[in-house]
Every structure is written in C-alpha cells, then in structure tokens.
C-alpha cells in the first residue's frame, strides 16, 4: 500500500506521497515541522487544525484540509486523518484499500499536552511508527512535573535577577511550554520565529498567557525577570545579554542523558518531548492491534529486534525525517541521518 521512492513514502493506488522531501503531485502532510513539510508538491492535504500553520510554513501553496476522522476517497484508496498528539494539527494518516488498513503515525506522543488534540489510537493491520526515542533509557515524567521544574527554574532565575532563556522548537514545544508557565505576571517574551505561531494557536482557540516580542528593548526593560522562548539556534541573539545576567535552558527529550546536556553548553536541561518515549511507543503500537509494524526514523534497530523477538513482523522504511534534533531544534531542514537509520 506504501512504498519508499526517492521523494519519500508513496501510495501507488492513491497517487499521493506522505510527507515527501522531493517532487510530488499530492502531498499529505502529517504536521508542519520542517523535516516533514517541504516545498515541492503541487497540492497539499493536511488536518484542519494544522492548515493555517502549514500555510504559514509553506507560503503560496495550495493546501486543502480534512477534519479529523473525515474520510476521503483518493484514487483507489480511502484516506482519513487522526490526531497524533505531536503538535497542533498533527495527524496520523489512515489508508484503507479493500478492507486492509495501514496507518502512518507521523511524529506522535501519547500524553495529552493540553495544547493539541491528544493522540487517538487507530486500529489497523500495519502501523508505521516513528522511533525517535526508541530506547528504554527514554522515559518521560508527567507533564505536570516538568512544568513544576520549569516554573521553579524561572522563579530561581528571578530571585537571582537573571533572565530565563529557554531553547525550544518554535512550533509545538514553544506553545506547550507557554501553556505551562506560571510566573506571577512576570513578562514572557517570544522570539520572532515563535510569535506568529503563538498567534496561530490563539486563533485556533488555544488559551495561552500574554506574550511580548523578544526585542532588544523588551529584553533590557525586563532583564532579570523575563522568561524568553526562542529557537535553540537563536539563543545567542540580542535577548541573551551577558552570561552573568541570564540562565540558558533547553527543553528536549535528549536532555535525559547527562552527556547531551553537558554538550549543549547550557545551564539547565528539561526533559520534555513531543515524541513518544519508549513505553509510549510500545503502548501506542500495541493499541493499534496491528499484525505488522513499520519502523522509521530514530532508534529503529532496538525496536526492530524487540518485535522480532516477539514474533511480530517488521519492515524498516528509510526516510529523511530527523525526529527531534539532539540540540533540540531540527528546524533548519536537511540534517544528518538519525542514529539507527543507517
């Protein structure tokens, strides 16, 4: 039902690609992160709540949308999109042909984050799952605990008159962290890459605390009190001032490992990911009731062997998705092949 082509995953019977990285006629986009949503297709189809964000990322393209759960016949197959819980508008792609059902997970997490529609398991015969954090060392704390850690870090920054600067993806993680912040009315500044996406969330009805642009002036005016959200690549930008006046944090699943935290050269690492952790991956795959598992991008090898040992057939799909970049932000498009995908 799906094959890998030079442009990415392709459905011959439906004549469409899923998250293609090369030329395509119709591209079904699971979510608007840069490694999944690229220019090069003639037409795009994505889930309703994600349409405006995709339009923001892929300016000038023809983008249609489907409501979650709404079916549409495309060529010889029927397609529907289902919440993946990754970011606002993220979807799993369900493809049905003559009673056989395949689901492509896109990126997903299983914990409800209060910002986007939570992950909904879809029964299928074959489930093609991402594997970004496919090792049992990756296990997440409940969101409320991480929220507590971030807020107490901000509090201690204010007590020491330091600006708290957190590196996050501009789409998804930024809004998720924003929804967690409780700073007794201390100002929250958002970087220029983050601000428009925050507005798109507000327009979609997501309740977020008030924010100000992270300009040089605002950073100076609220120095020692503000919380700044910026993509990791922008951490050294004007808002960051001198190292003595700020504390740098990163929020990413990779922060679970000491070596990665240290290598990032930051003051604080928060283990917070929009991907499923190891127990989440196993639970999500199990919940589909699938008879075969497809595996793609991330720690593919451990999951493949895990299912091999359990007699579950597996197929590995080579893709160019990066999952979550080790530095916390694969926003820039083409990146290295992820570990385990070689």
């Amino acid at each position: 039902m799906l094959i890998t082509t030079p442009s990415g995953l392709f459905c011959p019977d439906g004549g469409f690609h899923v998250d293609p990285w090369g030329a395509a006629d119709l591209a079904i986009i699971t979510h608007a992160h840069a490694d999944h949503a690229r220019f090069g297709a003639r037409r795009y189809l994505t889930a309703g709540p994600g349409r405006l964000i995709l339009a923001h990322r892929l300016a000038g393209q023809t983008i249609e949308s489907l409501a979650y759960g709404e079916s549409r016949p495309i060529g010889g197959v029927t397609v529907s999109l289902h919440p993946a819980g990754h970011v606002l508008g993220s979807a799993q792609v369900r493809i049905e042909r003559a009673g056989e059902v395949w689901v492509v997970s896109g990126d997903y997490k299983v914990e409800a984050d209060g910002v986007c529609e939570p992950f909904a398991p879809v029964r299928c015969h074959r489930f093609i799952s991402e594997c970004t954090f496919g090792l049992p060392i990756y296990r997440w704390q409940p969101q409320a605990i991480v929220a507590g850690e971030i807020n107490s870090w901000w509090r201690s920054c204010r007590e020491r008159a330091r600006t708290a600067v957190l590196g996050v993806y501009s789409l998804g993680k930024a809004q998720r962290v924003l929804s967690m912040l409780q700073g007794d009315d201390a100002p929250i500044l958002v970087h220029g890459a983050v601000a428009p996406i925050v507005e798109l969330h507000r327009a979609a009805g997501v309740r977020l605390p008030p924010t100000l642009p992270a300009t040089k002036e605002n950073a100076a005016a609220f120095r020692g009190r503000a919380f700044v959200l910026a993509p990791p690549s922008a951490l050294a930008s004007p808002v960051s001032t001198s190292p003595k006046l700020r504390s740098h944090g990163l929020a990413s699943g990779w922060m679970r490992v000491r070596g990665t935290r240290r290598r990032s050269g930051i003051d604080r690492g928060f283990v917070l990911s929009d991907h499923a952790d190891w127990p989440g991956l196993l639970a999500a795959i199990d919940a589909t009731g699938c008879a075969e598992v497809g595996l793609t991008h991330g720690f593919v090898d451990p999951l493949r062997r895990w299912f091999d040992e359990r007699g579950m057939p597996t197929t590995v799909y080579q893709t160019k998705f990066t999952g979550e970049d080790a530095e916390g932000g694969a926003e820039a498009g083409a990146a290295a092949p992820a570990e385990g995908s070689t």
Partner: protein, 552 residues
C-alpha cells in the same frame, strides 16, 4: 545522599569552573561533617573497592526492568556511561516529586549500610542490599550509587577545583590548603572539622608539596628578548622524559612521591634508601630516571619498572641491578625543616647544590644547568634534544619563588615562571579506518578514531586517538563516518577510507603487540587535513625511517 547526588549531576553538566566551585562550596557548607568528609575524599580521588561487578549490575537491572541484555547494551552504546545507563533503565518506584533536600539517608549512611557491607556479603545478600537501596533512590542517586559501588567514581571536577572550594570555604590560603590535602585525607568528621578550623594536620610527616607545573612556551623565538628578557635571567635545563617526583626525609619518615601524588617507594626501593641519606627536614623536587651505564633509559623502561614492583627485587639480581634509578634533583622545597618555596630560585639552587654534594651518592645528581650566552644558543641546545633522548628545554625564572600548580601568565605579556620549550612532535598523515562513540560528554558522537598507514594497497592500523577537534568538526566528521560505515562490529564502525588527519606523537618504538610492528607514544590529532585524499597519506615506511634515526 540526595544533595550529594544532585551536586555530582550539576558538576557533571556545568562547564563553568566558577559555578562548579560555588556548587561545591554550597554543598560543603550545608552537608553534615561526616558527609562532607566522605565527599571530599571521593572528590580527591579515593576509590571504594569495587563491591559489585558490572555483569551483576547489568543482570539485576535487566531483571528489575524486564529488559533483554542486548537492549541494555544498545542503551549503553548510546549513553556512553554504564552507571548512568543503568540508572536510566531502572523502573521508577515512586513518581512523587520531592523538591526538598531533606535526605532520606545521608551519604555516610549509604556508604556504611549500602556500600561497605557489599564486599563481604554473599551474592544473594548483595543483590538484596542493592535492590533495597534502588527503591529508596531517585534516578540521580542511583547513578551516583552505581559509580560508588562500581569503584569508578569520577565526576567532572578536578581536585584543583575542590581545593579552591575548600580554600573559599575555610578562608585558608589555597597554597596551604593544597599542601595540607596533598597526602591521603582521612574521611572522618574529626579531620573535616579540623580542616574547617584551619588547623594543620600534624599527623602527616610524609606530606608532599604541590608540584610547580610548567606552561608551554608559546612565544615565537624572534620575540624571546622582548617577552622573556635576557637569557641570563633564566635557569635553563633539559626537560627529561622521566617521572617527576619528590624525595622526602623528615625524622623517621622517608617518601618518594610521583607527580600523580602517589607513593612510588615500592617500585623504587633504592630511592627510598637514597631519601634516608638526605639531611633531616629535606624535600627535593626532581626527575626519576633510569640509567644504564651512562645512558638514560627510555620512559618505556621506567614504566616496566613501575609495574615490576617489589616481586622483581625479591627474585634476586636482574632488572633492578642492571638499570639503576637515579634522581635528577632540580629544586629544594624544604631545607632543614623549613618551607623555603618563597625564596627565589637562584637561592634555592645554591642550597640544592650544597645538599647534593653533602650526600655524595651517584644516585643523586644535580640536573645540569645549561649556560647559553644568547637565546640562539639555547635554541641550538634544544635542537640536540632528540639525539639526547630528552623532550626539550625547561626555562625557570631565577628570581621567582616556587609556584603552585600550573604556572600561567595572566595577560598576554605576563610570562609564567616555569616554561617548557618542547621539541616539535613527530607528525604523520594517517587515514581513519574505524571509529567508536566517545563517553560522557561525547557519548553519541564518534570521537575515538583508529588510524592506518599504507603498506602497499593495505591500510595497517597504527594508532588510536581521541578527537582533538572542535565540536563543529566533530559533528562533521561524525556525519561523514556514519555515511561511510561498511561494517559494524559492536560499538566499532569500520569505515571506507575518506578522512585524513595529521597525527602528532612524542616518540616511537618497536612493538610485537602491534600488527604494524611500531608503537607510537602519545599519539594525538593535530589537525584535519581536508586538503588531502587518503591516497596522499603516509605509508609505514615513513615511520620505519623515523625509527632508524631515533635513539633506542
């Protein structure tokens, strides 16, 4: 234990040394004396005996987490630190956030009840103890616990930073703190409190002085006159390739200390006898060298000797008779029981010469002083180094006191009082043929490379070296190596030859253990030769030619 574990995690993730010192001070200030004493001893390098093997620990974690052993191996490969991997794999017992530093058990209690009893306990009991403590610990505590019971406690903090923290905490001068803690520290609350009160431990007559360490001379020869002043202001000696040591005689105590602050009397009984001949209340700084006839033996021979220990002595004549250790003295730190490190070198040298001549033993020699008239003459002396089997020259300012630790100039123009002017290392261009991920900070990234040189059409392994590259270069190299891997064997990736690096090394010798027949000493990466293709790399015959020119 919670506070100690948190400190270890913070020290291991911060790069700022000032922050590390502040974190240490905070910990030591708040910790109960028995914990502080233990923590200090661990930070100063005390190792508990390994009480649990890593095999056992892996098996127990597999059992507790319901994980197959291959998955533990894959996780370890990714994390790069076994104690941390196992801590991350253990299932949480309770998910109750506990922000208070109120320790469930103090470090001292953990050591007393959770670590020390392990060694003598039968396997089933050992397992029960470990499981019980796992259940009381959070992930950070488990990590530190694994380090302690595995006998491999090493956290990202140097003893220098720990000493700075103690100096800041007690208000005692760093030099004095360093001296007081240079012997073994007895981890009891009493010694901790004595340290806090700033009292000198009078129970350590074998205590050494912190070594003055030289900085590399990074001034171009053309600027010597301007930057260093006249050559006559400096004492110039050869830089020996031996073991830096202190020879000490105080009352009934004699000791031979190595630069690593270890007693090496056992390996060099003749030096201990030599120390006894020194006048009472003398501490000398110098170099331990092996001499065969009139020739100085190589460092490799010294290493054999260190490993030989006493058994060889008892075995009768042999190693210890043919090759005699000698002590090349170059400084005196204590004379007639008085610390004279504050005197200028010129004056110390005079006293040293008197001491050496009074002892009158061929095993105690003065490190000869070279007297070049101009810097050009000094350079000519340096050029003799390789032929003489020495590493270059040492320059020591005649009017300077004996410094503590690494001597660094504070500004560009300030020059340290001890400088090493080493000869340029040998270098070759070699090809990367295999790579492994690093550990700790570099876990996940391929940073340990195996290099080969050409022999005909084949690349023969010549050395392994850790990356000496910038983080950016490492990331690029990592990407390229992953893309050119042709075989994976465990953690090792064998790659197609695409990358050429210039390797530096200090020396080379024949070796039966290596396929190439040659072992390099201190191989390291000098730079990435992006301008060279693998075919342009050196061949083994280059090394053969170097070997022929070098002294045995």
């Amino acid at each position: 234990m919670k506070a100690f574990a948190r400190l270890c995690i913070e020290l291991g993730t911060t790069r700022s040394t000032a922050t590390k010192v502040a974190q240490l001070v905070d910990y030591f200030r708040a910790a109960p004396a028995e914990d502080a004493a233990l923590a200090l001893s661990f930070f100063l390098g005390r190792r508990l005996k390994r009480a649990v093997t890593t095999t056992e620990l892996r098996r127990w974690v597999a059992e507790a987490g319901g994980l197959p052993s291959w998955l533990i191996d894959m996780s370890y490969e990714s994390v790069g630190d076994l104690g941390e991997t196992l801590a991350l794999l253990l299932p949480d017992t309770a998910r109750i956030p506990n922000d208070s530093d109120e320790p469930m058990a103090s470090l001292a209690v953990v050591v007393r009840d959770g670590i020390l009893p392990l060694a003598a306990a039968p396997p089933a009991r050992r397992k029960a103890i470990v499981f019980a403590w796992w259940n009381r610990f959070d992930s950070d505590e488990r990590f530190v616990y694994h380090k302690l019971i595995g006998g491999s406690f090493r956290i990202g903090v140097s003893s220098g930073l720990v000493l700075r923290a103690i100096a800041a905490l007690t208000g005692v001068d760093l030099a004095i703190v360093t001296h007081r803690l240079s012997g073994p520290f007895d981890p009891t609350p009493e010694s901790w409190e004595r340290l806090l009160r700033g009292e000198s431990p009078d129970d350590a007559p074998g205590c050494l002085y912190p070594f003055c360490l030289a900085s590399s001379l990074e001034v171009p020869p053309a600027d010597f006159d301007r930057m260093l002043g006249p050559v006559a202001a400096w004492q110039i000696e050869r830089k020996y390739d031996g073991i830096r040591g202190q020879l000490l005689h105080r009352g009934a105590t004699t000791a031979v200390w190595s630069r690593g602050e270890e007693r090496i009397d056992g390996s060099f009984p003749e030096l201990r006898d030599l120390a006894r001949q020194l006048p009472d209340g003398t501490v000398l700084d110098g170099e331990v060298l092996l001499v065969i006839g009139d020739t100085i033996g190589s460092f490799a021979k010294l290493q054999t000797r260190i490993n030989a220990k006493r058994s060889a002595v008892d075995a009768g004549p042999g190693l210890f008779d043919i090759e005699r250790a000698v002590f090349f003295a170059y400084d005196v730190l204590e004379d007639d029981g008085v610390d004279i490190r504050g005197l200028p070198l010129q004056e110390r040298r005079g006293r040293l010469e008197r001491i050496v001549s009074s002892v009158d033993d061929p095993m105690l020699r003065l490190s000869p002083v070279l007297r070049p008239a101009r810097w050009e003459d000094a350079a000519a002396e340096r050029a003799q180094s390789r032929a003489l089997g020495v590493e270059g020259l040492m320059l020591k300012r005649l009017d300077a006191p004996y410094g503590i630790g690494r001597q660094r100039g504070r500004t560009e123009l300030a020059i340290a009082s001890w400088l090493k002017w080493k000869i340029d290392p040998f270098s070759i261009d070699a090809v990367v043929i295999a790579a492994e991920a690093g550990h700790g900070r570099r876990a996940n990234l391929l940073t340990d490379y195996t290099f080969g040189l050409w022999r005909g059409e084949e690349l023969i392994t010549i050395a392994k070296a850790y990356s000496g590259l910038t983080d950016e270069e490492i990331a690029m190299v990592d990407r390229q190596l992953r893309g050119t891997t042709h075989t994976k064997r465990g953690p090792v990736r064998f790659v197609d030859p695409t990358l050429v690096f210039e390797l530096g090394f200090e020396g080379l010798q024949r070796s039966k253990r290596h396929k190439s027949g040659i072992a390099l000493r201190f191989p390291r990466i000098l730079r990435w030769r992006t301008d060279k293709k693998p075919a342009d790399a050196d061949s083994l015959s280059t090394l053969e030619a170097l070997l022929a020119q070098t002294y045995g």
